[in-house]
């Protein structure tokens, strides 16, 4: 179960960010913000290999006491960041990977909408429901 899901544009500004306990929203925003450095690091470190394999999933970015932060970057350098409760040990790497893939597909649908201008905040209802389902989903 994800507690925070964020989509970050190529230029590192948020396109979409949502977290479940809304009281600690700021904390999650901060966490996602910090994770961007790790994302950049990972991309530059194994950029070549990643491009060759077309592997978009970055894996665990960094763990904190209570949470784990996972990252995914598309070929167009749009980043998806997901914060997961670390008490939830049942959540496997593969599941995270498939969640990201779902997120990516959903994002593609948003991009295909002719009335969405690339670079705007995502306000799509379908995307929203998909994210909500991922946050409630018991894994």
């Amino acid at each position: 179960m994800a507690v925070c899901i964020a989509v970050i544009a190529k230029e590192n500004y948020p396109l979409y960010i949502r977290s479940t306990p809304t009281e600690s929203e700021l904390k999650f925003h901060y966490m996602v913000h910090t994770s961007l450095d790790v994302v950049d690091e990972k991309i530059s470190a194994m950029g070549k290999a990643l491009v060759d394999q077309r592997e978009l999933y970055l894996g665990l970015l960094y763990p904190t006491e209570d949470y784990k932060v996972y990252g995914y970057v598309t070929n167009s350098k749009v980043k998806f960041v997901m914060v997961v409760d670390s008490s939830n040990t049942a959540l496997r790497d593969n599941e995270i990977r498939s969640m990201f893939r779902k997120l990516h597909n959903s994002y593609t649908d948003v991009m295909c909408n002719p009335f969405y201008n690339p670079g705007d905040r995502i306000q799509s209802r379908a995307f929203d429901t998909m994210v909500t389902s991922m946050m409630i989903q018991v894994c």
Binding site: D109, C112, N113, P114, F115
Partner: protein, 181 residues
């Protein structure tokens, strides 16, 4: 009578996504250019009309339809042959009135609007697929049938199906009718 029934050997297909995205870009651009929804609808219809007047030739050449003897036959050809050929869907047909000149094509799936989630804010009167109306109107006009074609229901406006209403305006004139269908 229709033309002899040999299909053109080369039947080019383009990627569906490319087509749908192109149409989306067209509508989005029109929305940028014109403030009023009515204007956008009007231009879509106009473009469709121009397409329809040409497309009908292609349709008659490629399909082997025979002469139609009633409005309902024409509607069935449009639904089952034309829509199938150009959009890959078969809308269902209903008839409303007793004089049998008002019909509805009900599209359960609209490939043109596949990527559109909802109409943009402040554009509630936009008929996203108004091009289709224009095409049907133009095509019918080229076979000497005047018709009124409008959207009655639109999925994008919250209705459960997309419905295109076709009203034939004149009784079939036998003389005109003989020319060619």
């Amino acid at each position: 009578m229709s033309r002899p029934a040999h299909k053109r050997p080369e039947y080019h297909k383009i990627n569906k996504d490319l087509f749908v995205l192109t149409y989306g870009a067209l509508v989005a651009q029109l929305c940028k250019d014109y403030e009023k929804d009515e204007d956008v609808n009007k231009y879509l219809d106009k473009m469709g009309y121009n397409i329809g007047t040409r497309l009908v030739e292609d349709f008659l050449a490629r399909s082997c339809v025979r002469r139609c003897h009633s409005y309902s036959e024409i509607i069935n050809i449009i639904a089952q042959v034309a829509f199938k050929m150009y959009l890959g869907i078969t809308p269902s047909v209903t008839c409303h009135n007793s004089s049998r000149n008002e019909f509805s094509l009900i599209l359960h799936k609209n490939p043109l609007a596949e990527f559109v989630e909802e109409l943009p804010a402040g554009r509630s009167a936009l008929c996203y697929c108004n091009l289709l109306c224009g095409i049907i109107r133009g095509a019918l006009e080229m076979v000497h049938l005047a018709a009124n074609v409008t959207f009655l229901q639109d999925r994008l406006k919250g209705d459960s199906v997309t419905e295109i209403g076709i009203t034939f305006l004149k009784k079939l004139d036998e003389k005109k009718y003989r020319r060619k269908k």
